[in-house]
């Protein structure tokens, strides 16, 4: 069984979570070239490395962020979204 640590609820079975994919920079459709906008909408990054992803703990409907190594599938850390806002 895989365990993921929810910042609010603590360590739980991975079954209790839903993944929402990597955090992506928001783009302004009026200022983005068509090719870039198309790429933003229809292409997914698939590079090796560490990615920050949105996750949801389903029973509490709590959204948070997780840093995950895409090669080893190891979750490095999980944290509340307010931490990201504080950084940016």
């Amino acid at each position: 069984m895989k365990i993921l640590t929810c910042p609010m609820n603590g360590p739980r079975n991975i079954d209790e979570f839903q993944s929402f994919g990597p955090v992506r920079a928001e783009q302004d459709p009026d200022r983005t070239a068509d090719a870039d906008w198309s790429r933003h909408l229809f292409r997914a990054e698939n590079r090796k490395g560490i990615v920050v992803e949105w996750w949801r703990h389903v029973p509490s409907n709590y959204f948070f962020l997780a840093e995950r190594d895409l090669v080893t599938n190891q979750v490095i850390r999980t944290f509340d979204a307010s931490e990201r806002r504080a950084q940016s």
Binding site: M8, N9, N13, D15, E16, P59, S60
Partner: protein, 196 residues
């Protein structure tokens, strides 16, 4: 086993014919008991302004006989078992307030509220929920938002065992899952592993 029907009972509905287990593992339906959920920005400020001190997330507080359940930063559930008057007053004040006050999460209609009790309630709960809910890990003021009987649920300790809140549409399913777990516990001796 003596049994009672699931609330709300509707002839021909999904819960038709479903019985709640009773005996060494007893399931009681408290869905008709008063409760009120507030959610969204302003909820905490409104409740605080009305004299309710809120516990930390996933903890239970008390106010005028009500349980104050903090399910998230701005997600609060008030359970008023035997304190319907205090809750009715608070709900009336909330309804009449035109300022910032969060919004009603309709927990009185959306969620079922059931109580697992009886001699083998802890053993049944072990089969229904993957979390460590032993008394030294999970106290009377703790809330677990997790899965119970394969469905998303909020659970906490009550005097008799455990209370479970979940989607009301799953009432019959939950009753059947609990009855199945109860059947596996009936022949067990109590406290084999020091569980209380």
């Amino acid at each position: 086993m003596v049994a009672s029907a699931v609330f709300p009972f509707m002839a021909g509905g999904a819960a038709h014919g479903t019985k709640l287990p009773a005996g060494a593992v007893t399931l009681s339906d408290l869905t008709a008991s008063p409760r009120f959920g507030l959610k969204g920005g302003g909820s905490v400020a409104w409740l605080t302004a009305h004299g309710i001190s809120l516990p930390a997330v996933n903890r239970i507080g008390a106010h005028r006989g009500m349980r104050i359940m903090r399910l998230g930063n701005e997600d609060i559930l008030l359970l008023a078992e035997g304190a319907g008057e205090a809750l009715a007053e608070l709900k009336a004040a909330w309804a009449n307030d035109t300022g910032s006050k969060g919004y009603s999460s309709w927990r009185e209609e959306g969620w079922a509220w059931m109580r697992l009790s009886g001699r083998h309630a802890p053993q049944a709960m072990e089969r229904l929920c993957a979390l460590d809910l032993r008394a030294d890990e999970f106290g009377v003021d703790d809330i677990a938002q997790t899965r119970v009987g394969h469905i998303e649920a909020v659970t906490f300790r009550s005097q008799m065992g455990f209370d479970v809140l979940f989607d009301v549409a799953a009432s019959a399913y939950f009753a059947r899952t609990t009855a199945a777990a109860a059947m596996q516990c009936i022949e067990l001796p109590t406290d084999t592993e020091g569980h209380a």
